[in-house]
């Protein structure tokens, strides 16, 4: 088990900067998800931790130990590839035994360890099957077992669920999380799927364009996005953001949204900060934290689309710059063309500086 420290990590490929700068501390036994759209630098970061790529500058520490120049075979890192990279010309047993065998462990020792890990992963009946015709969840277990048998301090997983069909992902997610509890290793999990990150990770590092945007628990990232990118990226659908200017009113500080009128008063904690803002701000709220309100007590907008997703119904309001989505129970009686008055829950409102994109925080 080991902590991981990334310090001022930078990676350039020729003229292209894959990772601008990255500082991240991953605790011992923590499940950290690196989350972001493709090209955000998450895989590059992972490859540098594994030692497949050398950082252009910056440091990687495992515990106290600087990993610069340590080849990937010596880092004590378990790596699960996107396609699992199972040795298809071998049996499951040979796959599991590969690491210890290459390190020259005695045959009895190899057999004992393979037996133990197979038992733990419920692979015992499959040990003598050829590895080229296994289902994906078995492949995942073999891939994890093959790394786990080396007792690595750190486990790296590179989008292991991206080739799995949607129905099966839930099963795989549960299995993976259980395995992590069993092994108690530090895990770094790269994904572009926020559902995977939310359900499995202890903390999420959200990345975009080679820059770390926010690190926090799934709830922190969801409830208090650090900037506009995180607000839009996390959540399905993402946070509603409406541009406007802070203004004083009888009830407190509101945001003047122009043609949409003024918002309900801002929560007290951010009202002070918002009052001092000169430029424009984004008025943000989660689609899930919206209620229908009486006229004059919320934003009055036309319904442009009704999207039914079974238990819930997503109502699309307005369009273009002022589009808002709101999630209601599926018995909501709204139809296209009607006007709805929606009010975000006051405590769930977040305000962002439109110039910098950063969230306004109290204090």
């Amino acid at each position: 088990m080991s902590t991981i420290h990334l310090q001022n990590l930078v990676k350039k490929f020729g003229d292209f900067t894959a990772l601008k700068t990255m500082d991240l501390a991953i605790a011992d036994g923590e499940f950290m998800a690196l989350l972001g759209p493709s090209g955000c630098g998450k895989s590059t970061t992972m490859n540098m931790i594994a030692g497949m790529e050398e950082p252009t500058s910056g440091k990687i520490l495992f515990g106290e130990r600087d990993m610069a120049g340590v080849p990937m075979g010596r880092r004590g890192v378990g790596f699960v590839f996107q396609n699992y990279a199972i040795f298809t010309h071998m049996s499951v047993r040979q796959n599991l035994a590969y690491g210890p065998k290459m390190r020259g462990a005695a045959k009895a020792e190899v057999d004992r360890r393979v037996g133990a890990i197979a038992e733990m992963l419920q692979l015992t009946p499959l040990l003598d099957r050829k590895a080229d015709r296994l289902s994906v969840n078995i492949l995942q277990r073999v891939a994890i077992g093959r790394s786990a048998i080396m007792e690595p301090a750190i486990f790296l997983l590179d989008e292991p669920l991206s080739n799995v069909d949607a129905a099966f992902r839930a099963v795989m997610r549960t299995e993976l999380k259980q395995l992590q509890r069993q092994f108690r290793q530090t895990m770094v999990y790269v994904t572009h799927d926020q559902l995977e990150a939310m359900t499995m990770a202890d903390r999420i590092a959200v990345m975009d364009h080679g820059v770390l945007q926010q690190v926090g628990t799934p709830l922190e990232v969801y409830n208090d996005p650090a900037n506009v990118f995180v607000a839009r990226f996390i959540g399905a659908p993402g946070m509603n953001l409406l541009k406007g200017r802070p203004a004083e009113s009888d009830g407190g500080v509101v945001v003047d949204l122009g043609p949409l009128g003024a918002t309900p008063p801002l929560p007290v904690e951010i009202a002070d900060v918002a009052r001092r803002m000169r430029g424009e701000v984004f008025y943000g709220f989660r689609p899930e934290q919206v209620k229908l309100a009486e006229d004059g007590r919320g934003l009055s907008m036309p319904v442009s689309f009704v999207e039914r997703i079974g238990p819930r119904t997503i109502i699309h309001l307005g369009d273009g710059e002022t589009a808002v989505k709101a999630v209601f129970d599926n018995d909501v009686g709204l139809a296209i063309g009607q006007t709805a008055v929606v009010a975000p829950a006051v405590e769930a409102v977040r305000v962002f500086d439109a110039a910098t994109g950063l969230a306004l925080r109290a204090g």
Binding site: V77, A85, T88, H89, Y98, G99, M102, R103, R146
Partner: protein, 307 residues
């Protein structure tokens, strides 16, 4: 039930139509492949030669049953030519394979000047074998460059008569073959090497395998099919070794470098006993066919395993 019946009738009809449409082509191919074989079999059972004054179709008048084959069984020159061919093959094919594999491994990675070296390396393969034969004939003269280089290295004049010494002549001939055909081996093996999944090599590295272990446990097993193909091509080609060799030594000195092909060539052009030649050719064809079937069966098994 009905659905499956309908489904089974259709492909049948398709197969029948396909057979009828390709029948002319099949007859043509059959004629090209089978006719010479039957002709050969026929002649091999007679004493016919182009000097007998009758056409080959009249060869039955010189029928000698299996005399050619019984002669073959006790023909010491035939057996020694066969043994020599086997020696050349046993030396050349593995050498070409190992050199080709080493070069392919080298060329799988990037290094400066790779493209130029690549072109240079493939050049021997493009040289006409007869020209290569003449080239090596000159290189191995007693006053030739090979001896010059040996003189320069050893410090005293070397004048080995390479092509006049029975053992050295055979070595010279094998050097020429290795020079010319290692590139082909290299090309085929490189294609196989590039196809080895990189993820699995990385995975092996992360599990602590050193480069040699990775090569033996991952790369070679993944290349099995292509290795068998490359070896099969070279074994078959090498068995028929003729042009380069014939120009260098003419099978000499004496019969020291006489391989099966050279022996057949001499019997055909000098002794003119075509009935006997046909018998030899047929015997070799049978041996090679058995070898080919064996190799193909093995390959099919390997493909099943690696698929």
């Amino acid at each position: 039930m009905q659905a499956s019946k309908a489904a089974s009738v259709l492909p049948d009809e398709g197969a029948r139509l396909g057979f009828r449409l390709t029948l002319p082509a099949q007859i043509l191919v059959l004629f090209i492949a089978v006719f010479p074989l039957l002709m050969q079999l026929y002649i091999s059972l007679t004493d016919w030669s182009p000097l007998s004054g009758t056409g080959w179709w009249n060869a039955w008048s010189m029928w000698n049953s299996f005399a050619n084959y019984t002669d073959l069984a006790v023909d010491a020159r035939f057996w020694s030519a066969l043994k020599r061919t086997a020696i050349v093959m046993i030396v050349c094919v593995p050498t070409e394979f190992l050199l080709g594999l080493a070069l392919a491994t080298l060329f799988a990675d990037e290094f400066p000047g790779k493209r130029i070296f690549y072109s240079i390396l493939l050049m021997p393969m493009m040289v006409v074998p007869a020209v290569a034969g003449y080239m090596f004939f000159m290189l191995f003269q007693s006053g030739g460059p090979v001896n010059d280089i040996l003189s320069a290295i050893s410090g005293f004049p070397v004048t080995i008569a390479w092509l006049s010494d029975p053992t050295l002549a055979l070595i010279a001939v094998m050097v020429a073959d290795i020079w010319q055909w290692t590139p082909l081996m290299f090309l085929i093996l490189l294609a196989g090497l590039v196809g080895v999944p990189e993820d699995q090599i990385k995975a092996a590295t992360l599990l602590g395998a050193n480069p040699w272990q990775r090569f033996v446990t991952i790369v070679l097993p993944k290349m099995k099919t292509i290795i068998i193909i490359a070896l099969a091509i070279r074994v078959i080609e090498n068995f028929k070794i003729f042009d380069t060799l014939y120009i260098m030594t003419g099978g000499g000195p004496g019969v020291a470098t006489e391989t099966i092909s050279v022996y057949i060539y001499k019997l055909t052009t000098q002794d003119l006993i075509w009935g006997y030649v046909a018998a030899i050719a047929l015997a070799i064809l049978i041996v090679l066919s058995i070898a080919a079937v064996f190799a193909m069966k093995r390959m099919a098994r390997v493909r099943q395993v690696t698929a």
